[in-house]
Symmetry: C2
Subunit: 254 residues, 2 copies
């Protein structure tokens, strides 16, 4: 088992952020300040090209910690943030830049690249869950959710399919091609964000993936607009989804 070691800590305005190393993998745990009784945990996965402290992660952590009293944790994905890139990473990123510059389809590069990262990241997130559940403020039995868009979804779908301790998940904005088998093994409540006019991820395949989730309770949120036009109010919707399924009430702070 990888050891969890907290490195730096900072608190402000009702939220504590603790950087940690899980073995040699950097991550962050955001928690309510002061800590109260054990509270639900939401694992987060950042998007491709981003990192653990990207504003999307900090923003979601704010909503989850301050509005719900939950904990939120994220790891740098392999080859992202403070983690070294391998030669394979460099090769895939170069191929992606080349495809984008040439206006060629990204999916032949992105799909296997993300699947490779996910294969590595899934056991890392499971080890993170082992370690975080040893903390008294989270506890061994508390509810756990997962949220990830893009690369965070490419990691999250196989993670949630494999991990029975995760009981609610929010996904969105990833190429579905490599995710159908895992989606069919997911039966926990899912909220799935799609951009209706996504110029990168084809609408039909996104709808087919939503259909593939075995979850009895699943909600598709399709918003007009391109890939990057994903609206921020969906982060608030995801927060309410976790409050519904992990327990608790949303009390908006501002």
């Amino acid at each position: 088992m990888r050891s969890l070691q907290f490195t730096t800590e900072s608190s402000s305005d009702g939220m504590t952020g603790r950087d940690f190393l899980l073995g040699d993998i950097p991550g962050v745990l955001w928690s309510p300040d002061p800590a109260g009784a054990p509270a639900p945990l939401v694992l987060m996965g950042h998007g491709g090209g981003a990192h653990k402290k990207h504003r999307a992660m900090v923003g979601r952590a704010h909503l989850l910690v301050k509005d719900c009293g939950f904990h939120a944790a994220v790891l740098d994905a392999p080859g992202h943030g403070d983690r070294p890139r391998t030669a394979l990473d460099e090769r895939d990123i170069a191929a992606l830049r080349t495809a984008q510059a040439a206006g060629e389809p990204e999916s032949p590069v992105v799909v296997p690249y993300n699947a490779r990262l996910a294969e590595q990241a899934v056991p890392e997130y499971r080890a993170l869950l082992d370690a975080l559940r040893e903390l008294p403020e989270i506890g061994a039995e508390g509810p756990v959710g997962y949220v990830g868009m893009g690369l965070g979804m490419a990691i999250g779908v196989p993670l949630v399919a494999a991990e029975p301790r995760i009981t609610a998940a929010v996904f969105g904005m990833a190429w579905p091609d490599a995710l159908f088998d895992a989606a069919r093994r997911i039966s926990v409540p899912v909220e799935f964000d799609v951009q209706w006019d996504d110029e990168r991820v084809p609408r039909e395949s996104a709808l087919a993936l939503f259909d593939a989730f075995a979850s009895k309770e699943k909600t598709l949120h399709a918003n007009a607009g391109t890939h990057v036009a994903w609206p921020l109010f969906e982060a608030e919707s995801a927060t309410r989804f976790f409050a519904r399924h992990l327990g608790g009430q949303v009390t908006p702070t501002a």
Copy 2:
């Protein structure tokens, strides 16, 4: 212009309900108690076979009035609630019961039936808007929304297409067949509820109608489940949608 006459009034727990007659059409206006500065108005349309005080209407009014400080108003649809049925209504309802009992498709009956009721109801709702905007607690310039499912959507889509004073709308759960032309004329923000496994309204035609709205900002909420399994949390989502677009904040009461 039809005159608006309040008949009975009752208040409880921060909300006043006033029954009224608009000419000879019965309706209800729910308002914050005590009344404050002029506040946004949401017009509501009830579902087929229901009426102005159906629990779906009272429930939405509670959310809009008590959580947002808005007004909410609804009319009995033609041939519904306290309004007389015509011979045509009786004929259509009998045909619908026959089709349902025989397990035959409902849409050949429901689509023209609802279109006929909508043709009558649209000018009624426009007259209601004229009358309500003369009330000081609503005002001539305030924001107006519309929400309706089923029959309420069959009325609401042509209403919102025709009525520039309505600047945000929530629809769902109606047969789309007769609504495409009107949907293409709607450019205000729309939230559209679909049941992914609806055994009555075909998924493909519901998705095509969502595509048809000309709105730059539109969101599809597709939930797993059959027609009647529409989840109540969508009423809360609609409330937040109106708070976003008509102005104001949601403060959940319980």
